[in-house]
């Protein structure tokens, strides 16, 4: 793939990993840490350091990108809050990128052509997405969903690579469900990162698929989060 002329700052805080990445005309630099409950402390210093090292300011960027989920609700909202504030302040457009797609991109970069990405959604469920490599980029081939491992959508064809900690948590149940359609589990323990968010965002930005700061919002997938309202007395 040709290095693309773009300057994009990306962040990804939806899972255990907290990361920021700066894409400058095809070269990416990244800060990445796995430190539970430290995302809020780490993310802005990471972004600040990346820009400082590159001698850039927010105003020099073409866009900001963020992992829009699915993932831990609080983590997804940390990314959203930060990208909203920074993009509004610098008047830059925003590129939302699926956290599952960013995860799948790691497998694509390692040579996979079809990827089943799974994150542990807790409560006996996984966040689930199916992707294919097209021109080196992970492209969704089905709607992302949240469901128990026993009922993930089964693809028609074999030859899939598994990626993400959903496979660590529910590997057996998922393999049983997929009945031989998965080749191997080489990337099962990798974590979504900002570098791949940036990489996927470049193409989106090139095609004008951007949103305003206010429209940079989370994708939770799990929408039933409270008991239905009780009958009013």
């Amino acid at each position: 793939m040709e290095p693309q002329t773009a300057k994009i700052l990306a962040l990804e805080t939806a899972t255990e990993g907290c990361s920021a990445a700066l894409w400058v005309d095809g070269t990416v630099t990244q800060r990445f840490e796995v430190m539970p409950r430290a995302h809020a402390r780490l993310i802005l210093p990471m972004m600040d350091a990346l820009l400082a090292e590159a001698g850039l300011t927010l105003k020099d960027l073409d866009a900001l990108a963020f992992g829009r989920g699915p993932g831990a609700f609080t983590g997804v909202r940390a990314a959203v809050g930060v990208v909203q504030g920074a993009a509004f302040a610098a008047d830059r457009p925003v590129v939302p990128v699926s956290t599952l797609a960013a995860l799948a991109q790691q497998a694509v970069d390692a040579g996979a052509s079809r990827v089943l990405a799974a994150l542990d959604a807790r409560m006996g469920e996984v966040y689930w997405g199916a992707f294919e490599a097209r021109e080196g980029l992970a492209r969704a081939v089905a709607e992302e969903c949240v469901c128990p491992p026993e009922s993930v959508p089964v693809p028609a064809v074999p030859g899939w690579t598994a990626v993400g900690r959903g496979w660590t948590a529910y590997g057996e149940a998922l393999l049983r469900r997929l009945e031989g359609r998965v080749d191997a589990l080489p990337q099962a323990d990798c974590i979504p990162r900002a570098a791949e968010v940036a990489r996927l965002a470049v193409g989106e930005w090139t095609q004008g698929r951007v949103v305003s700061a206010e429209s940079a919002l989370p994708v939770y997938l799990r929408d039933r989060v409270a008991e239905p309202p009780r009958e009013a007395r």
């Binding site: 809020a40 402390r41 780490l42 993310i43 802005l44 210093p45 972004m47 600040d48 927010l58 609700f73 609080t74 909202r77 940390a78 959203v80 809050g81 930060v82 990208v83 909203q84 504030g85 920074a86 993009a87 509004f88 302040a89 610098a90 700061a213 206010e214 919002l217 989370p218 939770y220 989060v225 409270a226 008991e227 309202p229 009780r230 009013a232 007395r233």
Partner: protein
């Protein structure tokens, strides 16, 4: 005496304040010279009403959709931009962690993007200083009574950041007791204001509830027993047309009397003449009247913020932040949010 108002000899500061600690999204612009320039609030009361209480995850999900549109609106109303501001203040706690994180992450990154200093404000400090939004503003020192759905506190306020807690509720907060009692009387949630309206029609002589913890020294409160007394009276009396109103009246009288007795005691103990009342229950009319009478009787003065600044709001955070920025305080790039945070530790 230290003037409580902003220092007018220092360069003026224009500060954006963001509050998301519970179920209100509040955004405001405060200028140390020009005063409050604009403020906007989105209340989630209807969102949570059917659940009988605030659902934290729903609160966070709503905040993340509301904060930035309110920021844009407030800036436009005041005719300000990031270039004309001097800082950003945000509520860093105490409160619902997930809700706090939304406002904190937007606010901190706005300040970063604008290249402005940020300051992390204690929610209760915002309430304590809210009366400074009014004219006349109280001067330091004063006693503050903070009464809301989450807190009942008496605080000795010597100056910005110089707070000593004199007493607090050992169980339910006053506002919580109002809401729970309202629920027992079938007034829905949150029913505190509805209970106060109903009490206005009640007979003050029909029931008399105790004034908890006033028969012994000290400035702590306990309101959960009153809720039980109200339930017992309501359940064990044959129903009639005015029963609910009469119980509501006895309950409100007991809470108001108790708060007034403890406020008087706090003023006597500290020797201060000024009492400042803040928090949602501070909007209660009978409480306001009782505290006016008590303060006048002592030859002192009582200060209330207007009703909209008694409840959670961005204006008090912008104000508290401006005073702290003026004092040279600066928050780092880390996004701060703490569910628990002692007011004495700020």
């Amino acid at each position: 005496m230290i003037a409580a108002a902003p220092d007018q000899t220092a360069p003026p500061l224009c500060v954006l304040g963001i509050e998301t600690s519970c179920d209100e999204t509040g955004v405001a612009l405060y200028d140390t010279r020009r005063g409050l320039l604009a403020h906007a609030l989105h209340s989630q009361v209807e969102l949570h009403a059917g659940y009988g209480g605030v659902v934290p995850e729903l609160a966070s999900r709503d905040h993340v959709r509301r904060v930035l549109p309110l920021v844009r609106r407030v800036l436009e109303e005041a005719g300000e931009t990031g270039d004309t501001l001097d800082g950003v203040a945000y509520t860093a706690g105490p409160g619902l962690l997930g809700a706090l994180l939304v406002g904190a992450s937007v606010a901190r990154s706005l300040a970063w993007g604008w290249g402005l200093p940020a300051v992390a404000v204690h929610h209760m400090e915002g309430h304590l200083l809210a009366p400074l939004l009014e004219d006349p503003a109280p001067e330091f020192p004063f006693v503050a009574l903070l009464v809301s759905g989450g807190h009942t506190l008496l605080v000795d306020v010597q100056g910005v950041g110089r707070y000593r807690i004199l007493g607090e509720s050992l169980d339910d907060a006053a506002g919580e007791a109002f809401d729970k009692t309202a629920k027992l009387l079938g007034l829905g949630y949150p029913g505190g204001p509805a209970l106060a309206r109903l009490a206005a029609e009640g007979d003050p002589g029909r029931f008399r509830f105790p004034r908890p913890m006033t028969d012994r020294p000290g400035l702590d409160f306990s309101f959960s027993g009153l809720k039980t007394r109200a339930l017992t009276a309501f359940r064990d009396t044959p129903p009639d047309a005015t029963l609910a109103a009469d119980v509501a009246r006895a309950f409100e009288d007991a809470v108001v009397d108790t708060l007034a007795i403890k406020c008087r005691r706090a003023l006597e103990q500290t020797g201060h003449g000024r009492l400042v009342v803040a928090g949602g229950v501070g909007a209660n009319r009978r409480l306001r009247a009782a505290l006016q009478v008590m303060a006048a009787d002592r030859g002192g003065a009582v200060f209330f913020p207007r009703a909209e600044f008694c409840t959670d709001n961005g204006a008090m955070i912008a104000l508290a932040g401006a005073l702290r920025l003026q004092a040279g305080e600066r928050a780092g790039l880390e996004i701060q949010a703490r569910a628990r945070w002692s007011l004495e530790g700020v």
